[in-house]
């Protein structure tokens, strides 16, 4: 049993829904109790989908459990077929239905429907959303793909590929797909099938009619792609084209797979981000401490872009995708950090606070952590939020994606000169380091200790007859509270040397993200040199001592 406040991934059947909703002419019959239909709103509200996900829920109730829930499933599946006339059906169980063991696969087969029925076994008490999406896509491909009877002959036609991985509710999948499709077409590669997004069962059947696969999201596509390599003889690309450099490597890789020349395309590659990163204004980006967290693919890519294309220092790297833990550990080793493999939001928060970072590249969860800690943040990965489906074109992949990364990661930061001015006039009452960057509104983000916040939140001692003025059930669905303890500076317990007031004041002038270190170093220095009281002189002696 695991205590969970927030979860990075939904249950595996939500992954299956992402595949079903992405595809055309498919229907998913899910054996599930009332309430599981909440998953529909992920698509209709977060992604603003204009149609309902193609999912029928059996909606069994407590009183059905003693009776015939199997019949309920069969009726639901038959009705769904009659009403929606899909070309293929997926059937499965949500977490509760898994416990009652009705075997949706067997029941659906017994109906003898005139379409392929794909039974999904998604163990809800072991696995999570991305695994569910990968397994579902794999099962659909296995069930529906046709093996060519004769070896593929390319002849004179242009090389042709499939694009694998984009789903419904994917982080920027819509725009990545457009960017990469355009890129591939530009270098002379035709696109045979894109799957799951937009693919019909008939499209899955003709996956074999390509020369190779391009895999954009391993979390969803790796299993299906390796099955196709083994069974359909389709090699698959490995490079994820996030960042200008990776996009270039990607072009070389697919050109090699296609047997064409990619160098011409590389020569006129159009990305502003490498030049922007070189331009003098970007000097202030050097060595910014970034913490990266997300699904494995996006986290690894973001860390690489941060370190090699923007000149940041990666001080933390982690993922909630346990399936890809090894890859993330390997990547983390490149930056000399230990990977954080966790789906415990509190653990991630603790790590961010502890590392004293200057920029967080994470998910919506980390965006909220960053907000609480008063840190700039950009979102690089699912879990998604309505803001992750912008109206504008905003890919993460390809050359335009690299431009988007540059803008969205750099804009939350303090601009170069602004930072210098703050360094110079640290004591200014409205222009100090705790003030937010002026282009982000300028309001100071004050962190309140918990006790204080609670005192404010609980003005009631009398339950009734006492007029209250503060509405506590919020009028809107958005509830965000500022209260969180400031974890950046721990209690100054066990201090060996005392701080003179002016030295303490001087310490405040040091940027907060190195202040803890400066304090520790100074105290260590004072201890080693038997200095009883730390003065301004001691502080600078220590600084000189440790900066050797």
């Amino acid at each position: 049993m695991q205590l969970t406040l927030w979860t990075y991934e939904g249950p595996p059947h939500v992954g299956a829904m992402r595949v079903a909703t992405a595809m055309r002419e498919v229907h998913y019959v899910l054996h599930a109790p009332q309430g599981d239909t909440y998953a529909d709103l992920l698509f209709t509200m977060i992604e603003r989908s204009n149609k309902r996900p193609p999912v029928t829920y059996t909606t069994f109730q407590a009183r059905d459990l003693g009776g015939d829930t199997a019949q309920l499933f069969k009726d639901a599946a038959r009705d769904a077929y009659e009403r929606f006339k899909p070309k293929a059906m997926m059937v499965g169980a949500s977490c509760t239905a898994e416990l009652i063991q009705d075997d949706p696969g067997g029941l659906a087969l017994a109906l003898d429907l005139p379409i392929p029925v794909v039974a999904l076994e998604l163990p809800a008490y072991q696995r999570k959303e991305n695994w569910g999406a990968a397994e579902t896509f794999y099962q659909m491909v296995r069930a529906l793909a046709v093996k060519p009877s004769e070896p593929r002959v390319r002849g004179d036609r242009k090389p042709r590929c499939n694009i694998l991985g984009p789903t419904a509710l994917g982080f920027r999948h819509r725009d990545d797909l457009r960017e990469i499709s355009h890129l591939l077409t530009q270098i002379g590669i035709d696109i045979n099938v894109v799957a799951p997004l937009g693919a019909s069962p008939a499209d899955i059947a003709r996956l074999h009619d390509a020369d190779f696969n391009v895999m954009l999201y391993p979390e969803v596509a790796h299993q299906a792609a390796s099955w196709m390599t083994r069974n359909l003889g389709l090699p698959c690309s490995k490079t994820i084209p996030i960042g200008a450099n990776a996009t270039k490597s990607f072009i070389r890789e697919v050109a090699a797979l296609a047997g064409i020349d990619g160098e011409t395309a590389l020569a006129d590659s159009q990305s502003r981000s490498p030049w922007y990163a070189k331009s003098v204004d970007s000097n202030y980006l050097t060595g910014k401490r970034v913490f990266v967290f997300g699904d494995a693919t996006h986290a690894i890519a973001a860390a690489r872009v941060a370190a090699t294309e923007l000149g940041f220092e990666v001080v933390g790297l982690g993922t909630y995708s346990r399936e890809f833990a090894r890859d993330v550990r390997e990547a983390a080793a490149l930056y000399g950090v230990e990977a954080l493999i966790s789906d415990d939001y509190l653990e991630v928060e603790e790590r961010i606070a502890e590392l004293q970072v200057e920029l967080v590249l994470g998910t919506q969860m980390e965006r909220h952590i960053a907000k609480r800690l008063g840190l700039p943040c950009a979102v690089i990965s699912a879990p998604v939020h309505v803001q992750d489906f912008p109206a504008r074109y905003s890919p993460q992949m390809g050359f335009e994606g690299a431009n988007v990364l540059f803008d969205t990661w750099v804009h939350p930061l303090m601009m170069g000169l602004e930072e210098h001015l703050i360094g110079m006039f640290r004591g200014d009452f409205e222009f100090h380091e705790d003030a937010a960057p002026s282009h982000l509104g300028g309001a100071a983000h004050l962190l309140q200790p918990r006790a204080q916040a609670q005192a404010q939140a609980q003005p009631h001692t009398q339950p009734h007859t006492q007029p209250q003025t503060q509405p506590q059930i919020p009028a809107r669905a958005v509830i965000e509270l500022p209260a969180q303890p400031n974890k950046q500076e721990g209690p100054a317990a066990a201090i060996p040397a005392a701080w003179a007031p002016d030295a303490e004041k001087e310490l405040r002038k040091i940027p907060f993200f190195v202040r803890g270190k400066a304090r520790r170093n100074t105290e260590r220095y004072a201890q080693n040199h038997s200095v009883p009281v730390i003065t301004i002189e001691t502080l600078y002696d220590a600084k000189a001592h440790f900066s050797r």
Binding site: L3, T7, P11, L65, L99, H385
Partner: protein, 426 residues
Amino acid sequence: MSLVIPIHADIGCSDAPVLKERGQREVFCGLTGIIWLHRKMQDAFFLVVGSRTCAHLIQSAAGVMIFAEPRFATAIIDERDLAGLADVHEELDRVVARLLQRRPDIRLLFLVGSCPSEVIKLDLHRAAGRLSQQFMPQVRVLNYSGSGIETTFTQGEDACLAALAPELPVATDPSPTLLIVGALADVVEDQFSRLLTAMGITRFAFFPSRQSTTLPAIGPGTKMLLAQPFLNDTAKALEARGAERIASPFPLGVEGSSAWLHAAAAAMGVAKENCDAAIGPARQRATQALAIHGRALRGKRIFFFPDSQLEIPLARFLARELGMVLTEVGTPYLHRQHLAEELALLPAGTALSEGQNVDKQLDRCRAFQPDIVVCGLGLANPLEAEGFTTKWSIELVFTPIQGFEQAADLAGLFTRPLTRRTLLAA
């Protein structure tokens, strides 16, 4: 029976036939109630014992993620618990101990049952008893079920309050006391408090209270006035403690709020004139504020998909005070006794439905071609894309809508989508 609203069985929808349907339900389960209950009861924590689906549901249900250190969490049952490799009760004790250590401010802990915990027959009542013994007097531990196999959306609040009912202290004073039952926004509670005080009622309390340490007392003198229409089990539990239910329409709109406050006054022995005098100014303000919405909504046809059980009182308000035309009023569960006064006020011939088969109901909705559709978040955008104007029903639960001062706000929730459609079309 209310002293102010005459009830005749031969008017309104008292005996109207109800279309009962089964099939796919596009509604939340009772766990969703935690979203407002944990804000209402400020020293309570809700620990769902369930699956990742439960955690994901609560996180997604409000349409956004509610980030703060929340006063709810999920103890996710995993394979080891199911396979018997771990003792589920020991695991639960461990999780609760960790939680209470982290949140020493918690005084009341609800163990909330879910579909999986009900199906594996995890005895949370026993667990709550055991943990209560361990953590009292610091923390009281109670349990209820918010599972989808037993509860629909707002029934979660009903189950929660019913579990809390036996904990209310015994009233030592037998004189009449008014107990207002059902979670209301604090601002609404405060308005009602002022109105009740103005009419001379001093002995009144709200349940749930904001702090679990100040639960209202209950006894034979308790007159219970329901503020929400979905409190079946809670009312039963309070009746078992000696409380007497005051029959009344619910406090939505000017008419509903007046009738509700008059019912309270009558039960507490306050003269009608005193009640009228106390509520007069607020009532007057509300009537004026509603007028402008009446012009926008009169004659507009509305269709309700089932959601919160608030549908019948809402339909009554929209039909009688704003002149809207009711096409179908769907509700997940129709409690005839608590809604008797509401049904009597509904226009005769209103099509009522209980339960749901969402695909069939969508067919009926399309056939009616209503001007506005009240539905859940899963249906709203798809219906908008088909050309319908919609109102998300969840907003009717998360927004203060009861009482005089909110009557126009409530009407505004329906005029806004219609106005918006006109603006965007222009």
